[in-house]
């Protein structure tokens, strides 16, 4: 087991050093682009395979010594990738997202990318990296930290941002913290409004961001199906569904008046399956809470919640029990329902998703408040 971890660690380091994707390194070592990912997700391999991989890794390490300077990033690779076979649907979605990111970044003075650490956000990061390669994205990431995120997602956030070398702004609504607004004391509606919606508006105002990328998708929810790729918010970040701009071809009108801001949704046209398929194809690392593990949970109002830290007040007679669970969406832990699952590696998660008969947002407590609730929240400035 330690040998496998050693191999993974070295493979990741060489990937960074040589600016190769982990998939490429994986292919070089194991003759299988997804091999390393499988090992990371807890997969096994034979001793023979391991030995062969180690030998190849050694050669690779010699080829890219630790002291190799950074310009390798732009150095011309020896081998060219093949020409345009027919583009698959993922290729087209990826290209469209990159086009939108470049367009907004080129035309807006002060864009930012919202980063919620969830899988859609993580895909967005990956796309941003591709869109501006070999440069870094010309905008920072903004995480609205409610202070109630799953602990391990914050660790994941910091690791990913460090690895990619992106700039991160983590914004907390300190007023809300001082006033003691928590999901337990104020209810999900007020809490979300203060720690998420208001906090986001404050952060955008504070830094003067006039365009914010989000990972919203039209297939998530009925009212989102009509949301444009660029969504315009008036002063106060209100969304007016009656006053959206038509979007023809791939021409996006990014002009705004004073006080107006833009929300840009480059993966509008992706479905949940597309996102998973892309994560699988591109071998994108996800936060651990997406994967099943024994976690302490309680059940409230039919929703299974994880007791992520000691701040969660237990009701009389409630004792956390250990259960094999995972999360399909990442919100604040007191508002995100867990599902029982044995899925510990990506294909198993996708398998669960494929056979799931209950859609993604059901696990989010916030949508159940009212029918058409998302639309109302959007009008108030929720992303």
């Amino acid at each position: 087991m330690n040998e496998i971890q050693d191999l993974i660690g070295r493979a990741e380091r060489i990937a960074t050093r040589a600016d190769l994707s982990l998939t490429t390194v994986s292919r070089k070592l194991l003759n299988d682009g997804k091999g390393i990912a499988r090992l990371k997700a807890g997969g096994q391999c034979t001793v023979k395979t391991l030995d062969a991989a180690r030998a190849r890794l050694k050669a690779l390490e010699a080829q890219y010594p630790a002291s190799a300077a950074a310009p390798a990033a732009i150095a011309k690779p020896q081998q060219l990738l093949g020409g345009p076979r027919g583009m698959t649907h993922l290729d087209r979605l990826e290209a469209e997202a990159i086009h939108i990111m470049r367009e907004v970044a080129a035309e807006m003075e002060n864009p930012v990318m919202l980063y919620s650490i969830g899988k859609d956000s993580t895909v967005m990061l990956h796309l941003a990296r591709k869109a501006f390669y070999p440069a870094k994205p010309p905008f920072p990431l903004l995480h609205i930290d409610t202070t109630w995120n799953f602990k391990e997602t914050i660790a994941f956030r910091d690791a990913v941002v460090k690895e990619l070398g992106f700039e991160l702004i983590a914004h907390i609504n300190e007023d809300g913290v001082r006033q003691g607004v928590t999901p337990f004391t104020h209810g999900s509606q007020i809490y979300t409004d203060v720690m998420l919606t208001q906090s986001l508006r404050d952060a955008l105002d504070k830094y003067g961001f006039n365009a914010a990328f989000g990972g919203g998708r039209r297939d998530e929810e009925k009212s989102r199906a009509k949301e444009r790729i660029l969504s315009f918010r008036s002063t106060g970040h209100r969304w007016d569904p009656k006053n959206q701009r038509p979007e023809l071809w791939s021409i996006y009108n990014t002009r705004i008046s004073n006080g107006q801001t833009i929300r840009a949704f480059p993966i509008s046209n992706w479905t949940e399956l597309d996102v998973w398929q892309y994560i699988y194809r591109e071998n994108i690392k996800l936060p651990g809470v997406y994967f099943a593990a024994e976690r302490p949970v309680v059940t409230r109002g039919g929703v299974t919640l994880m007791v992520d830290d000691e701040r969660m007040p237990l009701e009389p007679g409630e004792t956390p029990r250990m259960e094999m669970v995972r999360f399909r969406t990442l919100g604040c832990y007191p508002l995100t329902g867990a599902v029982r699952s044995e899925a510990t590696i990506l294909p198993e998660i996708i398998q669960e998703m494929l056979v799931a008969r209950s859609s993604e947002r059901q696990g989010r407590v916030i949508d159940h408040d009212q029918s058409a609730s998302m639309e109302k929240k959007k009008q108030e400035g929720y992303f």
Binding site: T88, E103, A106, A225, P241, I251, S257, T271, Q351, L354
Partner: protein
């Protein structure tokens, strides 16, 4: 999601591998409020098992509150989104739906069919590969069918499916269906569709939607979904000439300049010759960079970053084109416009015009005619109102690179933006440039020098190159002409070679003949300038008096003296034609610089020493001069 039994992760991996290589089909559905369009889409989603239980539960819940279908599930409710419009029972916007089968992923643009929503239909059609047009079998081809078909054809869709819906309400009558099919094909002839597929259908009952219906045994075509899964999308984008509208310049490090954009047509490979518009600078593609590695070739719709062999100045808004077939460039063109705003379009008013990657100011100089979207008739009009289509002449503040819309949807399209409110108020499809001879009549002006020059989008002038033999006059003059030509300008070069052999064949090298030589050349240059041309004259013309005579022949500001001041030693060292050697040996008499004086100009507009500046840079400088002084503006 349609395959549910996935026993193991190996199955999942197989499933993913199979689905990873699916293609994508984008289509639009057009129909009026009662044609059953939302029901059809709801049926496609429902029957291809793409709904989750909680969505179905919500649907059943909604059916009880808003449904119009009694006890049956009202699929339309699944599709109609925003709360406000749900109460009215109509969709008022473009909604995008996604579903996927084993063979393809689909993006459906669902748009309302009312006349007042023409703009939404155009929006949905602009990104669609194919259109599904619904007809109510009880009503046949109606005005709205014509409107939908026209808009679809205007936006460049070449393949349509006509879904004759509600067949259940006419007892699946073949004769009625055949009549509708005949009527439609007949009416659609002038619209130029490449394929029309007519399917009898009942969206409500599910006939011929997912599977073939037993109730239409006389129909031998495919059901809708199988057809959509297999239809070959006619896309000849790869055969077109290469275009890359530059979105963003990537400066990853101090010595890296990459040009990022989405390929708008054609293919490109490292080593390909390219020309950049509007600068008309040329280079070769060095690399095609992506995060996944360099590509050997890039094709349409791919988002890439190019690097070039030469360091030329390229910025956002430029278009990198195949050198052998560059895009056209113009600041006046004719285009079809679909008006999308409450406030009318007025000729003469300034709007912003955004192409694939560039924003310029634009004015409609003339509304040639309006198109009645119901009858396709041309009508005269002074303004365009919301949802009207017009054919207009445009004049832009700066030239843009373009192709006609029928040749390239990406480089032939634009949107119009309100200068104050910033709203998107119109969509345009470029037909052709007005900067062509046959279009001179478009403005009612006397045909004079200004008119001729303006039709060529330039101010006429004479670039008079003077300097010693071998100083590089002709080399630079030829390069200047080439640059201007690449920019679509109209030029001519007069030099010893083409004048001495014809017009001035009778002249020798006596002083009198030399003066006459220059006089004739200057007069010819004047006539050419009067014709609106930019004329390069390349003669040693050593004497100030001759040059002054030429200057005085031309109009104010039309004579530009270019002194190629390469020193004698350099010229003599070059001695390309061996003339200096002959002169030194005394074989040529009166050779300028050796035994005849050269009088350098005192007031040359441009002074270039080609021993300091390479000829291409010299040519750039001259073109810059012309640009900077307004000679290249119409």
């Amino acid at each position: 999601m349609s395959s549910v039994a996935l026993a193991s992760t190996a199955d999942v991996e197989n499933y993913l591998a199979a689905h990873e290589n699916k293609g994508l089909l984008r289509f639009i559905t057009c129909g009026s409020v009662d044609d059953g369009k939302s029901t059809l889409i709801g049926r496609l989603l429902y029957d291809s098992k793409l709904l989750y239980d909680d969505q179905i539960a919500a649907l059943e819940n909604d059916t009880k509150r808003h449904g119009t279908q009694g006890e049956k599930i009202d699929f339309a409710l699944l599709v109609d989104g925003l709360a406000a419009e749900r109460e009215q029972g109509i969709t008022i916007d473009v909604a995008y739906r996604y579903f996927s089968t084993e063979k393809r992923k689909f993006i459906v643009a669902d748009t309302p069919g009312h006349e007042q929503y023409t703009r939404n239909m155009a929006t949905g059609a602009s990104t669609a590969d194919l259109a599904v047009i619904l007809i109510d079998a009880r009503k046949g081809v109606l005005t709205q069918t014509r409107r939908h078909s026209y808009i679809v054809s205007l936006l460049g869709i070449r393949q349509v499916v006509v879904a004759v819906n509600k067949m259940d309400l006419i007892d699946y009558s073949e004769s009625t269906f055949r009549k509708i099919e005949f009527d439609y094909r007949d009416f659609a002839k002038p619209l130029g569709f490449e394929s029309i597929t007519v399917i009898p259908m009942s969206a409500l009952e599910g006939d011929n939607v997912i599977t073939k219906s037993a109730k239409t045994p006389w129909y031998d075509g495919a059901a809708l979904l199988p057809y959509l899964e297999t239809v070959k999308i006619h896309s000849d984008h790869a055969e077109k000439s290469f275009r890359l509208p530059v979105q963003w310049v990537n400066r990853a490090s101090h010595d890296f300049r990459g040009f990022a954009g989405t390929v708008a047509g054609g293919t490109v490979r490292p080593g390909d010759d390219i020309v950049v518009l509007p600068s008309a600078k040329r280079s070769k593609v060095a690399r095609i960079i992506t995060h996944d590695g360099d590509l050997a070739e890039a094709g349409p719709d791919m988002a890439v970053t190019l690097t070039l062999d030469d360091e030329i100045d390229i910025s956002r808004g430029d278009v990198i084109c195949a050198a052998r077939a560059p895009a056209e460039q113009t600041d006046q063109f004719a285009a079809h416009v679909l008006w999308m705003a409450e406030q009318k379009l007025f000729p003469g008013r300034q709007y912003l015009l955004k192409t694939a990657n560039r924003i310029v100011s634009a004015t409609v100089t003339e509304l040639k005619h309006k198109v009645n979207v119901n009858t396709l008739e041309h009508m005269s009009g002074k303004t365009l109102e919301l949802n009207e289509v017009g054919f207009c002449n445009f004049s832009l503040s700066h030239p843009v690179a373009f192709d006609s819309y029928k040749d390239n949807r990406r480089t032939g399209s634009f949107v119009l933006i309100d200068k104050r409110a910033n709203a998107t108020i119109g969509a345009g499809l470029i037909d052709f440039s007005l900067r062509r001879a046959q279009n001179v009549h478009w403005q009612d002006l006397d045909v004079n020098k200004t008119a001729r020059a303006s039709a060529k989008h330039q101010r006429p002038c004479v670039l008079w190159f003077t300097g010693l033999s071998g100083s590089g006059k002709s080399t630079v003059a030829n390069l200047v002409e080439k640059r201007l030509h690449d920019m679509g300008r109209h030029t001519y070069t007069l030099d010893g070679d083409n004048v001495r052999h014809g017009l001035n064949k009778d002249l020798g090298f006596t002083d009198a003949d030399r003066v006459e030589n220059i006089r004739r050349v200057a007069e010819t240059a004047r006539l050419m300038a009067d014709a609106g041309l930019i004329v390069c004259v390349s003669f040693i013309s050593p004497f100030q008096s001759e040059r002054r005579m030429a200057r005085e022949l031309m109009g104010e500001g039309e004579f530009i003296e270019v002194y190629i001041s390469t020193p004698l030693e350099v010229c003599e060292k070059r001695d390309i034609k061996g003339l200096y050697a002959k002169a030194r040996r005394g074989e040529i008499k009166n050779f300028t610089g050796i035994d005849s004086a050269y009088e350098p100009p005192q007031i040359a507009e441009i002074d270039i020493d080609t021993s300091d500046i390479p000829a291409p840079d010299a040519a750039d400088r001259i073109v810059e001069y012309l640009k900077g002084n307004g000679y290249l503006e119409g």
